[in-house]
């Protein structure tokens, strides 16, 4: 293998030298060939296709699409409040005759599904493309849904690239198809496409937006009264039939002939894995996975001895192809759960006798029991203090020396939400009981209260999540006279997904100042009278606020405000522990701050990690006042 690599390298090096001799040519060539992630390629493709309005709410793995687009000043790009709003804004733009784009993660389309279905019903007046990034393997999500079903549900065309090059090229087709067939177009990618970099030949320039924005009265198309919607439905069916005919000759639906013993139908990144696992087979590689090209499939199947489908997650292609009367297998040996890779496909191939067994090349020993390394709240995270407070008031943490493995039955129920703060679930904080979907914390807590739970209920939610979908929950809690405590963690950013702005920050997607929506005004305006704003790094304030809110019979809202430590540019003098005063009680370790470490009979602070004065929460909670500025501790020692 190493040999092959070197030999191959020599061959290519000579080519390289030849080109570099021509100097200028190489330079120009280099400019056209870029290494792009799938997300960057999608964004560039959309830009070159003349997109004018781009909207999104952040969500891994889709976030970088809007981030890339926001860098162009000839596009209007926004972080919308949530995905539903993003979809509605893009629809408005498409109605007004300019090309628009929405990007979101798989669960984002759930939030936006209502306007998505509506857009399918009304159709558009200029290209409207929705990029939806699924997350097989659940790298960073709350579930593993397969959004290809949405294409079928909404009866809209769906395109799937298998690398960055295709991602770039497909965007132009997506907008054209949208306009030609009067439909929104779904471009479906997965984490592995979005977050892999590969070589892209960029061969286009930005298409000048074709038309000026212009809206023409057409109530039968745009006003979905039942009487009009009834007229739209047959048109949608007609559209679908036309799209299926188009799919037959669509350039990205390609048969790649190898041996005729085995034919593989596949799409997206699964194609790349399958190609490597079955280098000799014939492939029908689908760039458009809804609607499917029936004749192409029938003719492909007729030319091979056996047809299998290799696809990630649900048997979407398989069932749709089976419905055409074609005999195919796939999910019988390719798992429907988790992300695929070449190893898994090879194993599947062996199970069904398509590949011969090979001896394993590696020893994967799960019995090794190596300590895991889950992600943690950062040193100096503004969420740490409040979780420590809840954990200690709710008797959840396990002191270092105690032998009890599980924490005591808690006196609080803490319904959680999604963001960095969900990490408060892990030990030592153990301070979250539920986390279902964005915005659910408030409704969940209210539901528990109304169900008659005797324990105190706390809903904990991030600032971006509150804007996204917490507001309606709060309105509901006010209206139904809920008595829960709601804690909004205001770290001034959407941290989890890489620090995007949101309405509360007052900064636009381009980093410019805009109008901020003030949290406390918003909460009071909804009708909450018990609103406290506390400093997220002041342990006493936090404790008092939580205690008084829990005791209060009213609905209480605490806004815990403190900047995300990743966003605080300057570090001040780190804290240190005076080993003379420290009696190893282990209370500071209960914070779960990664800077506080233990080495046998010594607890110490890793000074390269500690953020210092911006935080100091360990200093505030140490019962023996053993923690202080590093210089003070050292001065005391040298006395």
């Amino acid at each position: 293998m190493a040999y092959l690599f070197v030999n191959m390298a020599k061959g290519l090096f000579s080519v390289f030298i030849y080109v570099s001799l021509t100097g200028k040519l190489w330079y120009d060539l280099a400019k056209m060939i870029k290494l792009l992630s799938g997300n960057e390629a999608l964004a560039l493709g959309a830009y070159h296709a003349g997109v004018k309005i781009a909207t999104a709410y952040p969500g891994t793995p889709s976030t970088e699409i809007l981030e890339s687009l926001a860098r162009h000043d000839d596009i209007y790009a926004e972080w919308s409040t949530n995905e539903k709003v993003a979809m509605e804004v893009a629809m408005g733009a498409a109605y007004a005759g300019v090309r628009s784009l929405v990007s979101l993660k798989q669960v984002g389309l759930n939030v936006a599904s209502d306007p998505f279905m509506a857009a399918s019903t009304t159709g558009v007046n200029a290209g409207m493309v929705i990029i939806c990034a699924d997350d097989p393997g659940i790298h960073s999500s709350q579930n593993e849904q397969d959004n290809r079903h949405y294409a079928r549900l909404a009866k809209v065309p769906m395109l799937e690239p298998s690398d960055s090059q295709e991602a770039y090229k497909l965007m132009a087709y997506a907008f054209d198809i949208s306009e030609k067939f009067d439909t929104p177009v779904l471009v479906r990618v997965t984490t592995r496409i979005s977050h892999s970099k590969s070589v892209v030949e960029v061969n286009q320039k930005r298409l000048a937006p074709a038309r000026q924005a212009n809206f023409h009265y057409a109530a039968k198309k745009y006003v979905m009264l039942p009487i009009h919607a009834r007229l739209r439905h047959p048109l949608i069916e007609e559209r679908l039939a036309k799209l299926a005919a188009y799919a037959e000759t669509f350039t990205f639906n390609q048969a790649l002939w190898g041996e005729h013993r085995l034919g593989i139908v596949t799409s997206g990144v699964a194609y790349q894995y399958a190609r490597e696992a079955f280098p000799q087979a014939s492939f029908l590689k689908l760039g458009m996975t809804y609607p499917l090209p029936q004749n192409l499939l029938l003719s492909f199947a007729a030319q091979v001895d056996r047809v299998i489908v290799i696809e990630e997650l649900d048997p979407f292609l398989q069932e749709n192809i089976q419905a055409m009367g074609i005999k195919v297998t796939g999910k019988e040996f390719i798992p429907a759960v988790g992300e695929l890779n070449v190893d898994i496909i090879e194993k599947g191939g062996q199970r069904t006798g398509l590949l011969s067994e090979t001896s394993p090349r590696h020893v994967e020993d799960t019995a090794l029991n190596l300590p895991k390394r889950p992600p943690l709240l950062c040193p100096g995270c503004p969420h740490t203090g409040i979780f420590f407070t809840l954990s200690s008031i709710g008797q959840r943490s396990k002191p270092m020396k105690s032998r009890v493995k599980t924490p005591k039955e808690s006196s609080l129920v803490i319904t959680g939400d999604i963001g960095c703060y969900t990490l408060g679930t892990y030990p030592p904080l153990n301070a979250m009981d539920t986390c279902a979907c964005m915005g659910a914390s408030i409704g969940n807590a209210l539901g528990m209260e109304k169900a008659g739970i005797a324990k105190k209920l706390v809903a904990i939610i991030g600032d971006s999540t509150f804007m996204h979908s917490g507001i309606t929950g709060l309105v509901n809690a006010v209206y139904t006279k809920g008595q829960i405590t709601i804690i909004i963690l205001d770290n001034g950013t959407t941290a989890m997904t890489g620090h995007q702005e949101h309405p509360g920050t007052g900064i636009s997607a381009q980093g410019k100042k805009t109008k901020a929506v003030e949290l406390e005004q918003l909460v009071r305006g909804i009708g909450v009278s018990d609103v406290k704003v506390v400093d997220a790094f002041n342990m006493k304030q936090l404790r008092n606020a939580v205690k008084s809110a829990l005791e209060s019979p009213e609905l209480s809202v605490i806004i815990a405000r403190g900047a995300c430590s990743v966003r605080v540019p300057t570090r001040s003098e780190p804290r240190a522990i005076d080993t003379e005063k420290c009696n190893l009680c282990g209370i500071c370790l209960q914070l779960g701050c990664p800077a506080i470490q233990r080495e046998k009979e010594r607890v110490y602070i890793d000074t390269s990690m500690c953020v210092g004065a911006a935080c100091t929460i360990c200093q505030q909670i140490c019962p023996r006042q053993a923690i202080d500025q590093q210089s003070k501790i050292e001065a005391a020692k040298s006395l």
Partner: protein, 193 residues
């Protein structure tokens, strides 16, 4: 090539630069990162594949030519990706996870780590990269130092690597990072060959 370590060590940038260098040298290349819940101190894994034509961005288990680990525990965790006789370059650094700090789990000893690695390969290089980066005056050059050590085993010319670094880094930190890269290369040459 397979690069692993802990979030915040600059692994994603390092593999971006490997990929750029391969592209500059005229290869097909794919790279992909597995970050879990992103940036917060978790285990990070990045795959880079270089060749005439690359299909899957993920490398098969037991097929990695070069494993570069920025931390010892991560080297042990991921070494089964290495092919038999492949190269393992490991930063001599232990970052105990929180569970170890809390006293719930135990960090493996150097001997245990070496034994795990030995099941895959004998070509193991422990390098004091964190110390050397600190000596250079900027701990954040760790990734370029590690890149330098790995570059010895990759048939790409030095200028491709350095062009890759220059492309990706802003002018004010370019020089120190190129120095770190060269130091790493020198260090590996002194132990290997």
């Amino acid at each position: 090539m397979f690069v692993t370590g802990v979030g915040g060590q600059g692994i994603v940038l390092a593999t971006d630069i490997i990929a750029e260098a391969a592209l500059i040298a005229g290869y097909d290349v794919k790279k992909t990162d597995t970050l879990g819940m992103a940036q917060r101190g978790g285990s990070v894994v990045s795959h880079v594949r270089i060749g005439q034509r690359v299909c899957s961005p993920l490398i098969k288990k037991g097929d990695v030519d070069i494993l570069v680990a920025f931390e010892k525990l991560e080297a042990a965790r991921w070494c089964y990706y290495l092919r038999h006789g492949g190269i393992a370059i490991i930063n001599n650094l232990a970052l105990p996870p929180l569970s170890v700090n809390m006293g719930n789990e135990r960090y493996p000893s150097d001997k245990e780590i070496t034994d795990i690695l030995k099941r895959q390969t004998d070509r193991i290089y422990f390098i004091d990269a964190t110390r050397r980066a600190r000596e250079l005056g900027n701990i954040r050059t760790l990734n370029m130092f590690m890149l330098g050590t790995a570059s010895v085993f990759v048939p790409l010319e030095v200028h491709a690597w350095e062009d890759g670094i220059s492309q990706r880094l802003s002018p004010n930190i370019r020089e120190i990072n190129i120095t770190a890269f060269r130091n790493g290369r020198k260090e590996m040459r002194s132990v290997h060959l």
